[in-house]
């Protein structure tokens, strides 16, 4: 599985309140949530992003509230992958559980700049920066988590018996 797109870059500690502000949490509708994705950190995000684009953050991406609405908004907006140095643990779980691809890679987060064109090979964890002609190696997921991802999320993995 591969992803390819242009990068929107953000600093350390991007919290779930700026990814999807609580004033929009009066609906579980993914499309409505996606319309306000990143609104309080990057008001023009939904206007400028194209399907397949990639979000790159720093340390502790997705900190704060447990709202699954945050990865759901990012996924539904059409983002193909989030790369960060580290993820806050609930955001990490939620992304895996709903099938939003995420990768931890400090070198990629340091090397990639806003607007770079980046390609990701999820099987190998290799991130290629087409703009700068650089490659970075992301941490592979443990087998247990790869199984959830392969099944298309936690609920599907439960149904397929892959979880027990």
């Amino acid at each position: 599985m591969n992803a390819k797109g242009f990068v929107h870059k953000y600093p350390d500690n991007v919290d779930t309140d700026v990814i999807i502000p609580a004033r929009y949490l009066n609906t579980p509708d993914a499309k409505e949530l996606a319309a306000h994705c990143m609104e309080d950190i990057d008001p023009d995000f939904t206007k400028k992003m194209k399907p397949g684009d990639i979000i790159v953050g720093g340390f502790n991406f997705g900190c704060g509230s447990s709202r699954e609405h945050a990865p759901l908004a990012i996924k539904t907006a059409g983002v193909s992958c989030v790369i960060a140095k580290t993820f806050a643990r609930i955001f990490y779980r939620n992304s895996i559980n709903i099938g939003l691809p995420i990768l931890e890679c400090e070198a990629a987060s340091d090397g990639i700049e806003a607007g770079d064109e980046v390609e990701i090979n999820f099987d190998t964890g290799v991130i290629t920066n087409r703009t700068k002609n650089e490659t970075y190696q992301a941490e592979p997921f443990p087998e247990f988590i790869q199984n959830i991802i392969r099944c298309g999320g936690l609920m599907k993995s439960l149904k397929e018996g892959g979880h027990e």
Binding site: N60, N97, L158
Partner: protein
């Protein structure tokens, strides 16, 4: 190698003789929790996957607390969906308007969560219940859906940091100051993926309310959970309250910790987190003259009886600064009623405050105290991110109920020790 307290609880719930940090396990759950924001997403996942029963209707908890009494039509629809689901699956611990409370104030108060439990909640502050000696952590809605269906959850066994507490808290300093001090020291990702285990001779002098506040904000340091040992204070709290028999786990002598911090409680001072991260802490004495527009006293962090008492001690017989909005929100109906009984509510109203029924409302910028552009609020809540309580240029300063109440009198961030 021995196990930490958290690891022992996880091992027992995974049916394993021992576990170690980094190990992936599937653990049995004693309690699964959701609220009116996270439960609708969980219900949709639960139904989409085709489940038609919950694993145990006495262990699934749904508390409507974020946007209730409903703030708008959409919020009302979400509550309605939770209500219908609770009715359909005969969820025993479903708490609606009139008997609800802020979930993390309500569940300990009712004895639903207890020592030795393994708990998940689709709310990040589910880590609160470590105060009673449980493993308890926040998850998302899909985890809640899977937990409701199977009674199990996958975990990566966390490594742990040890906080050895000594001494006792001076007057005007509370559990809120302890946890703000720690977050300031280690940062908002200082405990990422880890347990924060609180121990040492200073624990005995901390009330259950202080412990609940401390564990509540473990997530603000990135932690998976915070946990206190079970001692006489815990037993006094749980006995006659806990709805199930509880089990006491203790860390092994040779348990491994990635970091050990010693904190002398007697040296702590009232502490304030400035915008826009909880780690941005300062002693209140350094605050100078930061003028404020609003004060909020309440939330899952500080909406318990001792918090109301701390506010009352400062506000009784006085009047808040003219032009300031002061919003006081008891965390549960029992706290609300006790405030009435003790005369706190009347004293708050006479002081120029408003007193609301329990809600998370203002903490997350939902309703009941939204800030306009450029406005500042001193709040006993737990997050001060950009736009957390309203406009993106508004500012939230996190503090204890005593600091918040002292600031309500002056209109700028103030030291409660000067008015106590």
């Amino acid at each position: 190698m021995g196990m930490t307290m958290t690891q022992k609880i996880l091992a027992a719930h995974a049916g394993l003789p021992s576990v170690k940090a980094g190990q992936l396990i599937n653990a049995d759950l004693d309690i699964v929790l959701g609220n009116d924001i996270t439960t609708p997403v969980a219900i949709n996942e639960f139904e989409k996957a085709g489940f038609d029963s919950v694993y145990d209707k006495s262990r699934v908890n749904i508390v409507l607390d974020h946007f209730v009494p409903n703030k708008d039509i959409k919020a009302a629809e979400q509550s309605k969906q939770c209500r219908q689901f609770a009715c359909k699956y005969q969820i025993e611990n479903f708490y609606d308007v009139g008997e609800m409370g802020i979930e993390h104030a309500l569940l300990p108060e009712k004895g639903i969560v207890t020592a030795g439990d393994c708990i998940i909640g689709a709310d990040s502050h589910t880590c609160t219940y470590g105060a009673v000696g449980a493993f308890s952590t926040g998850v998302g809605s899909t985890d809640m859906a899977a937990g409701m269906a199977t009674g199990k959850c996958w975990f990566k066994v966390p490594a742990a940091m040890k906080f050895v507490l000594t001494g006792s808290l001076p007057k005007g300093v509370s559990g809120k100051d302890v946890i703000l001090h720690i977050i300031g020291m280690i940062g908002v990702d200082g405990a990422l993926y880890k347990s924060m285990e609180f121990t040492g001779p200073g624990v005995a002098a901390l009330s259950m309310d202080d412990r609940l506040t401390i564990c509540n904000m473990a997530i603000e340091a990135g932690a998976k959970n915070g946990i206190f040992p079970v001692d006489d204070v815990t037993r006094a709290y749980l006995d006659g309250r806990s709805q199930r028999e509880y089990k006491v786990y203790e860390a092994d002598e040779d348990a491994e910790y990635t970091d050990v911090y010693e904190i002398d409680l007697s040296c702590l001072v009232p502490t304030v987190s400035y915008p826009h991260l909880p780690e941005n802490t300062h002693p209140v004495t350094d605050a100078g003259d930061i003028a404020i527009d609003q004060v909020v006293i309440g939330s899952c962090t500080n909406g318990r009886m001792s918090d109301m008492e701390a506010a009352y001690e400062i506000l009784k017989g006085k009047h808040v600064k003219k032009g300031l909005r002061v919003i006081i929100i008891p965390g549960t109906m029992a706290v609300y009623k006790e405030c009435l009984k003790r005369g706190y509510t009347e004293a708050f109203i006479d002081a120029g405050c408003v007193v609301s029924t329990p809600t998370c409302g203002p903490c997350l910028g939902g309703y009941m105290g939204i800030l306009a552009a450029g406005e500042r609020c001193v709040s006993t809540t737990n997050r001060n991110f950009v736009g957390r309580m309203g406009h993106v240029t508004s500012e939230v300063y996190l503090a204890s109920p005593a600091v918040a109440a002292a600031s309500a009198l002056t209109g700028y961030i103030s030291d409660p020790r000067e008015v106590l």
